[in-house]
């Protein structure tokens, strides 16, 4: 089968999805066992937004209703368990990429019928929506849906079900992006 330009070139195998799942479950279990809290990503993004706002305009950030919540006690907004964990996520992704020889020159992965620009615009729009949604949903797929439902939290299951249902329902309208 010929390799299309928008696809990755190196032929390496991903691990078996169930293997990934079991490993992920074990990582999550160890996390809960050690720290009592769960894996999450979006909280760290929020922290960096807060930190950025604090650097650009400290007074405005402190008086802002939302940023103010995280700047109360003189604690640096980036000094949070989650931020260290997200640093690890990036390193871990890199490690896996190196190990399986998937690190490559920056490139854009896209569906067969979509241009580079459209893919990137879609990515940004998706990111904006997702970022906005994480704050309302109290977490992202890893923080709320995965960790939340694993710890039997009602909110976690709620987010998981609705997130997947919403994505399924909306998938038809953006099928050009992917198939």
């Amino acid at each position: 089968m010929e390799t299309l330009p928008h696809q990755e070139k190196n032929k390496t195998k991903y691990i078996n999805p169930y293997f990934g799942g079991v490993l992920m479950g074990i990582v999550l279990l160890v996390t809960i066992f050690i720290s009592g809290r769960e894996l999450g990503i979006s909280g760290a993004v929020r922290d960096s937004v807060v930190a950025t706002a604090n650097v650009i305009s400290p007074t405005a950030a402190k008086t802002s209703v939302y940023y103010g919540k995280f700047l109360k006690d003189g604690h640096h907004p980036m000094d949070n368990w989650l931020d260290y964990e997200v640093l690890g996520v990036i390193l871990g992704g890199l490690l896996s990429g190196i190990l399986f020889k998937r690190v490559h020159k920056p490139f854009v992965e896209r569906g067969p019928n979509v241009s580079r620009t459209r893919r990137l615009v879609a990515a940004v729009i998706g990111g904006i929506l997702f970022g906005f949604g994480t704050r309302l949903g109290r977490g992202c797929t890893s923080g709320a849906a995965l960790s939340g439902s694993s710890t039997f939290a009602f909110g976690g299951v709620l987010v998981m079900v609705i997130l997947f249902a919403s994505a399924f329902a909306f998938a038809y309208f953006v099928r050009k992006l992917w198939i």
């Binding site: 999450g40 990503i41 909280g43 890893s142 039997f152």
Partner: protein
């Protein structure tokens, strides 16, 4: 389909099936039964009516009296500054706000010590500390503080001292109180420190 998938499905199913049979402990923080029995058998939780009266007179800010009787009885009469937490609301979050605050000593009382003692056992099971039970309850309070009996002639000196204290306390709780009402001095202001939340992980994404 690879044969290993059947094994995987089977193992996961058995593991999940096992969870149905294990004794679940996903409940609010509770101390273990053996710990509870040990604590139940200690008499250190009991305080006397005299001690409570003394603290009330001294307006000890760390003292919090909790009346565990039903609300109807509380409305009729209760000890000064007592808060009513009937025994079934002990297990609700609203009732529990009074307990476990650092720096406060909670004294439970009822008509006798029995109901208060049972409330104490429940609280201890829920891992609350620094709770006490007033021995004798309000009945005892009436007998000792409000209507103290004069000791016999042959009684030791300490009994007379106690009697003197009780007479004065009686004055304080019945008569003296009226003179003070204008200043509303009976209002005790208790500033609770927040309960430390170290016990539970903070988190979120």
């Amino acid at each position: 389909m690879n044969r290993n998938y059947y094994f995987l499905t089977a193992i996961m199913f058995v593991l999940a099936l096992g969870t149905l049979f294990i004794h679940e402990r996903v409940v609010s923080p509770q101390i273990s039964p053996s710990e509870l029995l040990w604590d139940v058998l200690q008499p250190t939780r009991f305080v006397t009516t005299d001690q409570v009266a003394k603290r009330l007179i001294e307006k000890d800010p760390s003292l919090l009296l909790i009346d565990v009787r039903p609300a109807a009885e509380y409305d009729k009469y209760s000890l000064p500054n007592a808060v009513n937490v009937p025994i079934d609301s002990l297990i609700t979050p609203a009732g529990q706000e009074y307990f476990g605050n650092p720096g406060t000593k909670v004294v439970l009382f009822s008509n006798d010590a029995i109901l208060a003692n049972q409330a104490w056992v429940l609280l201890r099971r829920m891992a609350f500390k620094n709770d006490y039970v007033m021995k004798g309850g309000i009945n005892g309070w009436m007998e000792t503080i409000i209507q103290p009996k004069e000791p016999a002639e042959t009684a030791p000196e300490s009994a007379f001292e106690r009697y003197e204290f009780r007479k004065a306390a009686c004055q304080y709780f019945t008569g003296a109180n009226v003179a003070n009402t204008g200043k509303s001095s009976s209002k005790v202001k208790v500033v609770f420190k927040r309960r430390k939340k170290t016990a539970v992980a903070a988190g979120g994404c």
